[in-house]
């Protein structure tokens, strides 16, 4: 499903965020990506999302060579993957409802289906009463949940989440984890989740990939927040 081959990402200013990453993730897997701040986790996600192009190597998702996609084809590719960005990326001038609906409108879903599905995911993340609020009127954790709701709205084949629980309290984090596990189990969605939350990783044990300074230093099913030194 996801395959990185010798992926290197050097930013224009010379920073090498990823330094030869080889990684295979199969359909239906649930994988944590952990690692210290600045180790290249978000960069890895940007490569998978097509936002950045690998300087070397290749990134293949669902058979598509993401780095080679034409600029105009990138959005179409993205319809198959849901991404929760570390900085949320909500449309400021749209309400919560409209933000989530937008992801369904772009694939020309019928109006009534959109309405039903948006209500459904808003309920899943616990935001039933915030449909008409604008992002600026939400708390940090509420914005984060809107981002999660939007990412899962059109039932993507791959869900990529960059610290989806960074601004949530432990109870809410746990609820979101349970939700993601359910999606993973029931819809067979491949899930890739970047997290710093030790408690979460220890509680819901999964395959865990540890990044450090742009290279994978561990890839283990042993579970638990892996301390590398």
């Amino acid at each position: 499903m996801i395959e990185l081959k010798d992926a290197v990402k050097a930013y224009k200013n010379g920073v090498k965020a990823l330094n030869g990453v080889n990684l295979t993730i199969h359909q239906g897997e649930f994988v944590y990506i952990i690692g210290p701040t600045g180790s290249g986790k978000s960069t890895l996600i940007k490569l998978l999302d097509g936002e950045e192009i690998p300087s070397k190597g290749s990134v293949i998702v669902a058979g598509i060579n993401v780095g080679k996609l034409k600029h105009s084809k990138v959005p179409i590719y993205r319809r198959n993957i849901g991404v929760v960005f570390q900085d949320y990326r909500l449309l400021e001038r749209k309400t919560v409802f409209e933000n989530i609906a937008y992801a369904l409108e772009v694939i020309d879903a019928p109006k009534n289906i959109i309405r039903r599905r948006v209500r459904e995911v808003m309920n899943l993340v616990g935001l039933d009463d915030k449909g008409n609020a604008f992002p600026s009127e939400l708390s940090g954790g509420q914005q984060q949940r809107v981002a999660i709701a939007r990412a899962i709205a059109n039932k993507p084949k791959v869900l990529i989440a960059d610290e989806p629980t960074g601004n949530l309290d432990p109870t809410k984090s746990d609820e979101i984890m349970v939700l993601l596990e359910k999606i993973n189990r029931e819809e067979n969605t491949t899930i890739l989740m970047v997290t710093h939350d030790e408690a979460l990783v220890n509680k819901h044990q999964k395959r865990t990939i540890v990044l450090e300074s742009g290279v994978i230093v561990a890839d283990t099913f042993q579970g638990g927040y892996f301390k590398h030194d």
Partner: protein, 300 residues
């Protein structure tokens, strides 16, 4: 498909409302631009009409030599003049008429001075030639001069050509200025729209993040641009209609006690309004289209 079209239209209207400050900025840029264009259009159109009227009223007078006063000579000269390209109308005026015309140009009390001369009339037969275009006066006059039996031609002297040339220059200059200023003004509006869209480039980028194709992102922005263009055209159109009708009535349709006749408002202001609306819509469309396109390429 229809659904989607309606959705874009709706989104466009929402956009205008939700970014009201920016919409007002863009629309006011359109308004000012169109006001400028309207003033120029009205002035140049009237100038155009006035000059063509003056040009038409300038005639060439053709003096027939004393040696060619036979009727056959006059007929020949008449038909030769009529054959020249650009000649509109030729009228004949005989010696007697010329004499009357001449002495009538003096104050009544002085006319007696000339009466003794009526018997030995010193005037010539003459033709008066109207031409299609004022700018051809000189050329046609010299062709007429070459006809056998024509003693000399006269077209109001240098001052006449000069006036006609001056008006033609003004008209041409005015036309170029209108085009140039319109282009500059349109650039200004486009610039303004670009800035309002720049303030939302982040939004455009996020839309791509969520899977929206470029065309899908662009559509509501373009609708918004068109709406803004139309809104911006309202004040200039109303101003043009009411101000022109008011001025026309106030001046009695004339400028400078009647030498210059203004274009009647009735169909004229409608044409101008259509042009303004079209420019407004066009500017809004083009401005938003290209600006969005530019920011679509901002990030992958």
């Amino acid at each position: 498909m229809i659904n989607r079209f309606l959705r874009h239209i709706k989104e466009g209207f929402y956009g205008v409302g939700r970014h009201s400050a920016m919409s007002v900025s863009s629309a006011s840029a359109v308004t000012i631009t169109l006001l400028l264009i309207s003033i120029f259009l009205v002035v140049t159109s009237n100038l155009e009409k006035i000059t063509s009227k003056i040009e038409n009223s300038v005639k060439i007078s053709v003096i027939v030599s004393y040696d060619f006063e036979a009727q056959e000579d006059l007929d020949r000269i008449d038909s030769q003049i009529k054959n020249i390209a650009g000649v509109k109308l030729v009228t004949f005026s005989d010696k007697e008429m010329e004499f009357d015309f001449y002495i009538n140009s003096f104050p009544e009390e002085e006319r007696v001075i000339f009466e003794p001369y009526r018997s030995e009339n010193p005037m010539h037969h003459a033709f008066y030639v109207e031409v299609n275009e004022g700018s051809m006066l000189q050329e046609i006059a010299s062709k007429i001069s070459a006809i056998e039996g024509v003693e000399k031609t006269n077209y109001g002297g240098e001052s006449s050509t000069m006036l006609v040339n001056a008006l033609a220059t003004t008209r041409q200059g005015g036309f170029i200025l209108v085009i140039a200023l319109s282009l500059l003004a349109i650039y200004l509006v486009q610039n303004t729209i670009k800035l309002t869209i720049f303030a939302r480039s982040n939004e455009i980028w996020i839309m791509r993040n969520v899977g929206a194709k470029n065309g899908y992102i662009r559509a509501p922005f373009v609708v918004e641009g068109i709406i803004i263009g139309m809104l911006g055209a309202i004040i200039p159109i109303l101003t043009t209609i009411f101000a022109y009708i008011y001025l026309y009535n106030k001046l009695g349709g004339k400028l400078l006690s009647g030498i210059f006749v203004l274009i009647p408002p009735h169909p004229f202001v409608l044409y101008i309004s259509c042009i303004l609306l079209a420019v407004g819509i066009g500017v809004g469309f083009i401005g938003s289209f290209f600006s969005v396109t530019k920011y679509l390429r901002w990030k992958r």
